[in-house]
């Protein structure tokens, strides 16, 4: 009996997580695949047809939205790295005993709803609002200049909203860098730049990698920023999926589009991991 229990122990330990994954990930995923291969409408019902046309039609109608989403995702991720890396570096090496306070400041926006924060940008950046209106009154900007409903506004909104997801993993990676390694590099006649490029940067890459996954994936699928800050030329694939699902009750097409997006992102992430030559970076980042 005792031996049986011993053999069961690992399975029992994995059971909660396994059930969680099965119920909240595997089941919905399989239902989504099945739904994406159906045809019909709400009134007459949906039939399982096992035809792929939802995928081909989705890609041909909305292919440009996929490209745009990935492009915006990429730009916002790059912006996030550019802002987050120096911030994390400063907190990790110069934060002193106030480190946790600075990290708290980074997380502070999370205490206000994501939607609310995005909507308030709409007020701040209104064509004749407090910023642009004032600058226009001073004659510093032409009357028809606007920020809202431009791709700049969408990418800025995305970067703003997902920045903390980039700061935290990079900070964790940098925090683990032993300052004595930098001293050792300098003892071996490395300049400051060289010590950074050859010691600190490689050691922090797993953090950057984790940050990229945590921002690029949700940013590419986001629809809130494009809906609030963008115009018709800035629709992302998330908006299309949301409209197809909620507004047109076209569940099969919405599922097919979601699945396509997921596949593209997964392939992208694996390619990225390969290119970086760090197959075990995820593991390293989790350590």
């Amino acid at each position: 009996m005792g031996r049986l229990r011993g053999r069961l122990a690992p399975y029992l330990m994995i059971l909660p997580a396994g059930l969680w994954l099965a119920v909240f990930f595997a089941v919905p995923l399989i239902m989504m695949v099945s739904l994406s291969l159906q045809e019909g409408n709400l009134i007459d019902g949906f039939r399982q047809t096992f035809h792929w046309q939802n995928y081909t039609e989705g890609l041909s109608t909305y292919g440009d939205k996929f490209v745009r989403s990935l492009w915006y995702g990429l730009l916002a991720t790059v912006v996030c790295i550019a802002i987050a890396y120096p911030v994390s570096y400063w907190i990790a090496f110069y934060g002193g005993h106030r480190k946790s306070f600075y990290l708290f400041l980074v997380l502070l926006p999370f205490f206000v709803s994501f939607i609310l924060r995005t909507v308030s940008w709409k007020f701040v950046l209104a064509d004749n609002g407090i910023v642009l209106g004032t600058l226009k009154n001073w004659g510093l900007l032409p009357q028809d200049f606007h920020v809202l409903q431009t791709s700049f506004a969408v990418i800025a909104g995305l970067s703003y909203n997902f920045l903390p997801f980039m700061v935290l993993p990079i900070y964790v990676a940098l925090e683990r860098v032993d300052p004595r390694l930098i001293e050792a590099a300098q003892d071996l006649y490395a300049g400051r730049a060289q010590a950074f490029l050859r010691v600190v940067l490689p050691l922090s890459l797993p953090g950057v990698f984790a940050g990229v996954i945590m921002t690029f994936v949700p940013v590419s699928a986001d629809y809130v920023n494009a809906a609030i800050l963008g115009g018709p030329q800035h629709t992302m694939i998330g908006n299309v999926i949301q409209t197809e699902y909620f507004n047109h009750n076209n569940y099969p097409t919405a599922s097919a589009l979601s699945f396509t997006l997921m596949a593209i992102l997964l392939v992208g992430i694996f390619l990225y991991a390969r290119l970086l030559g760090t197959r075990d970076v995820l593991e390293a980042a989790a350590r």
Binding site: A26, K65, N128, N250
Partner: protein, 416 residues
Amino acid sequence: MSRRPNPGDPAFLRGLTRPRLRGPVTGRRDVLRLLGATGAGLALAACGVEGQGGKQNVTQSDVQKYWEGKTKNGVLNWANWPGYMEEDRATLKAFTKATGIKVNYQEVIQENAEWFGKIEAPLRAGQSIDFDLMVMTNGLQLEKLRQLGYLAPLDHSKLPNFAENAGESFKNPSYDPGNTFTVPFMAGITGIAYNTKYVKEEITSIASLWDPKYKGKIGMMADSQELGNFGMFAIGVDPEKSTPDDWRKAAAKLREQKDLVRKYYNQDYADAIAKGDVWITMAWSGDVYSLGLEDVRFVVPEEGGTLWTDNMCIPKTAANPVDAIMLMDWLYDPRANAGLTEYINYITPVPAVQEIVKQDAAKAKGEKKADLERLASSPLVFPTERDLAKLRRYRVLTTAEESEYQKIFTPIAQGA
């Protein structure tokens, strides 16, 4: 399969997970077998869904069966659109005073399609949506609610005020024959609003929405019916009599405009025109009237505008339907309706209100008097029969037509 399994239905989840609980898991192979069983269960579950349509025809006995044993509970949850009730909720307070029913009023509906998307799944599963009364426009989604049997059939013996006071054009409408499921809340006109601070000409034609002069300052609506209607007006077609061929031509016309349009709006166009983010936009009559801005003017373009009706209806799963139908009827008392009309400035389905507004104006003083006089004589709030003749209605679409219609018009608001 008779019923679509709902992923959120506890019984369905139990059914899926039961094999797991039958015996202890002893080896990797069993785990795989369980996974296989789950897969098979899903394959069975996913073999399609039968249609639920055709429930719009109800008989007197259906009505009786629904209302049998239902009683007044003293509370009512009402889902409505923003701007459809006085800020101080005076009408609701008066209702509570008259009937003792407490109203929990929420402005949760921004767009018909989006709202329908939210309530569709719980209604399909026969679950409560936590609202007893909601307001929907006479469009595609209301038609779906009717056909799918998601609405409570109204017991007209409980609606004496409606029978007595509703205007003739609001009774027995084509979108809900016999007022089986709905009674109108308010009606309004879709036309053009423009800000005279930036637009230095008088706007009379829908063509101004295609004027390159206003590039980046033009607003259109995202709703595919509203948008489609304006596309059809622009090519000189009456939406009510349009054919799929007209739809394609209208869509092509709307695509020409794509680069000029700042955004395809839901409710937020009113905010945008007030702030000057757009200068000229598709708009709803009452919104513009309520903005009360001197610079923002509303016109019904000479090509035509649309007349729509927002309707009160009761979801079938409502917990307090008796309270809801009492409110419906109470709003058809002209005195009760007058205060609301004076605030929201849409077309009231109770014509007797105009007399009351005139009387109120005679009693009022100063600014309030001018406001009420303006209202009583406003063609936007009390349109004449001649005005009404200029307006067109939404086309009622069959299920097959709808999917074609959506395919043609929805990508436009998505920028495609």
